[in-house]
Symmetry: C2
Subunit: 253 residues, 2 copies
């Protein structure tokens, strides 16, 4: 299943003692729909407040409902902030977290004198003007295979902190693009990043670091030094969750 959700009202993808998780809602709804206990396995454990347009999950079932119809049946009963955008059958050995893939995330920053009532759930509001060109220059140092230890939250457990970033774009929109609901004079800065995997909080720490570059607190070249230091204490702060959206995951299977 390809899954889209607004993460605002959830504790994240994964079950937690302190609130409702996205996977929990889908497990419960699917189990009721199919009349058997379903436990989905997700690709990406997004944090509380983080959104997705294309997270991926699989499950085993004995149902006779055709796989491509499950999305429609499920969307009738799911809350409005979780949508299954597509469903199809996969082989039994496919696991969305272990298969090779390219993940793409987007981090949205509303850079404006005033916040925007339609974008507070989906962007990080930054008052002081950001220099997008400087952010672009800083972003370039992160493209390629690197040890991203400086961009990984300390309590993460992972075999290696080496990852490959295939692309990292910084874009600026000032026009009132349809459906985007930007007010006059507001600027939306989007950081879009694709890679073969991301460390815990990596995109949000990259966003927080590039915001410092945009505020001229760091020159763009300092991003290279941060990367080479392999030390979380030298990078910028973790930018808030609501700016982050998992756009999609492409598998090579």
């Amino acid at each position: 299943m390809t899954i889209a959700y607004d993460g605002t009202n959830y504790v994240g993808w994964q079950m937690q003692p302190n609130g409702t998780a996205v996977e929990e809602v889908i497990n419960k709804t699917l189990s009721e729909l199919l009349g058997e206990e379903i436990i989905i396995a997700g690709a990406s454990r997004t944090d509380s407040g983080v959104h997705a347009l294309g997270n991926v999950a699989v499950f085993d079932t004995d149902t006779r409902i055709p796989a491509d119809k499950i999305s429609y049946a499920l969307n009738r009963v799911l809350p409005r902030d979780i949508v299954i955008s597509e469903s199809h059958e996969v082989t039994g050995d496919f696991h969305p977290r272990h298969a090779d893939c390219v993940k793409t995330y987007e981090y949205n920053i509303l850079n404006s004198n005033h916040p925007n009532p339609m974008l507070w759930r989906y962007s990080h509001f930054v008052y002081l003007p950001l220099d997008t060109e400087a952010m672009k220059a800083g972003a370039e140092f992160l493209v390629g295979e690197h040890d991203f230890a400086s961009f990984c939250s300390a309590h993460a457990q992972t075999k290696t902190t080496v990852r490959t970033v295939y692309s990292l774009e910084v874009e600026e929109n000032t026009e009132n693009i349809r459906g985007m609901h930007l007010a006059d004079g507001q600027k939306l800065i989007t950081i879009r990043i694709s890679g073969n995997g991301f460390l815990y909080n990596m995109v949000r720490i990259i966003a927080g670091t590039l915001i410092r570059v945009g505020h001229h607190m760091y020159p763009p070249e300092h991003v290279k030094e941060i990367l080479e230091a392999c030390d979380r204490t030298v990078s910028g702060p973790k930018a808030p969750a609501q700016g982050l959206t998992l756009l999609g995951i492409r598998y090579y299977t």
Copy 2:
């Protein structure tokens, strides 16, 4: 003041017995902030669920806070779904509902197999494919000065149902434009209309009529016949509130 709001949780701009109104929240917050009783006069009485990026309101005050600082002070205490995007002083005789102006509205339709968890508050979800070219052709008949009685809810009280539509564009976006959060394969159709004033529910009835054109229930030329009939019973249904946003109001003063 220029005012932006997410209308989802309000009964509309104007006070109603059955819930909280946008003007009510602003009146209360402004009165507390300035320490005097403030009653704002708004330009446009948007309905429940309708959004605004640029509604306009004025008020009288004895405060010493500079007019252009009031927006900042107010945004600190307003809920996140109401934002004052700008404030400045006007002459005492300016009334935003009576002054000549051009108003611009946008109606957003998500045309897709599946809904979108980030767009349900801000668009009308339409499952069956819409023919945008047919909608454009139908829209052309509405541009200019006409009697829009066919596009006005019955219980409206107004001296005349003649209005001038300066422009009416129908646009389609299928790309994942930054910040718009469209999923793969989803199409957002935007109806954007500017005029010297709008009758009660006029934009939503135009949207409902153009959706029928997009579904080939009406040929585009039928929009001309509907207009000429001056009869609400022959036009399409009123499209739902959440698709509508008041983009802005331009005054000639």
